[in-house]
């Protein structure tokens, strides 16, 4: 008898959950093989048909494995991982734009918006590949701005009281500056990231393949 487990997952590290999934899919192929044989197909033909059916089951195995995981693990994998990885890219782009245009200009802000849309798109698409749903994808994109947002908020809420202790006139005119910082450095990129994520969701919608009608492709 053929090794159908090997057909389903040839090179996989198998934890108990994955072993169970692979076992179940292998049983499916085995049943299919036996039915073909009972129907009179030769061993070679039957195995070729079964091999074709069992090809590219990697994404299905991953999907089944992830569906059985808890919510926190999904959030770490599909939100934190792509979000923080792309947050580093965002930081680098932000610094690069800051170095090129030393002072805030419309070009610099427009560049940052474009970079944000692109990174929002990438974060959302990576999140989908890592098993994220719509909400995970949106949060993954929003996480890209997290480092920047934390840094800016720390500056506003920690530095201001310290400066106030040193100089009581510090607050004069500083609110408008803070508002400007929050608007351009946090709100605008965040909106652009969300736009990028929405473009990604539109381009790569969640796959739900439930049932195929004869003559159609699901």
């Amino acid at each position: 008898m053929h090794d159908f487990r090997r057909l389903v997952a040839p090179n996989r590290k198998r934890d108990p959950r994955e072993r169970e999934i692979v076992g179940e899919l292998a049983c499916h192929l085995e049943e299919m093989y036996m039915e073909l044989r009972r129907g009179g197909a030769s061993e070679q033909t039957a195995f070729a048909i079964v091999s074709a059916a069992g090809k590219d089951l990697g994404p299905t195995i991953r999907r089944l494995r992830w569906e059985g995981e808890g919510g926190l693990r999904t959030w770490l994998r599909a939100v934190a991982l792509p979000g923080f990885a792309l947050a580093l890219f965002y930081g680098v782009c932000n610094i690069a734009l800051g170095v090129y245009w030393e002072y805030p200009t419309l070009w610099r802000e427009a560049g940052l918006v474009l970079v944000s849309i692109a990174l929002g798109f990438c974060a959302s698409s990576f999140s989908k590949e890592l098993g994220g749903g719509r909400m995970h994808r949106l949060w993954a994109s929003a996480t890209v701005i997290s480092f920047q947002a934390v840094a800016e908020c720390a500056m506003i809420f920690l530095v201001t009281p310290l400066e106030l202790v040193r100089n009581t006139h510090y607050l004069n005119g500083v609110f408008a500056a803070f508002l400007w910082i929050v608007l351009w450095d946090i709100v605008t990129p965040a909106v652009a990231l969300v736009i990028g994520s929405l473009i990604s969701v539109r381009a790569f919608p969640p796959v739900v393949r439930a049932v195929t009608l004869k003559g159609t492709a699901a």
């Binding site: 169970e20 999934i21 076992g23 179940e24 899919l25 049983c27 499916h28 085995e30 049943e31 299919m32 039915e35 059916a53 069992g54 089951l57 994404p59 299905t60 999907r63 089944l64 569906e67 059985g68 919608p205 969640p206 739900v208 393949r209 439930a210 049932v211 195929t212 009608l213 004869k214 699901a218």
Partner: protein, 112 residues
């Protein structure tokens, strides 16, 4: 539209699987085969869609699964309905009946 489409596909697989399993316990391949046979080959589940649907229903608590060895010595993972799953059949069927009735009235499927 794509959201409605995906919901319809997901919902259709759920009502089909629940109805089949209300008759007896089956393993994955058997479920797929039954659907194909009962629909005269018009409906077909691929592995990549059948098992995610079954696992989703396991997560919802509508089904439970267990491994059993057949007299021929083959291990198979069987699915059966839970009480919660059995409770879902009637409302799901009703909403599908309403949906198909409405579709029929609008698209005049009977005249097709």
């Amino acid at each position: 539209m794509s959201r409605l489409d995906s919901k319809v596909k997901q919902g259709s697989s759920e009502v089909i699987i629940l109805t089949l399993l209300s008759q007896r316990e089956m393993h994955g391949y058997e479920i797929g085969k039954q659907i194909e046979e009962l629909s005269d080959g018009a409906l077909r589940f691929e592995m990549a869609s059948l098992y995610p649907a079954l696992h989703r229903m396991l997560q919802k608590g509508w089904l439970e699964a267990y491994w059993e060895t057949s007299p021929a010595g083959r291990k198979r993972r069987y699915y059966r309905l839970t009480t919660n799953g059995r409770r879902q059949i009637r409302p799901l069927r009703r909403s599908w009946k309403q949906f198909l009735g409405a579709l029929n009235r609008v698209a005049r499927l009977q005249n097709a």
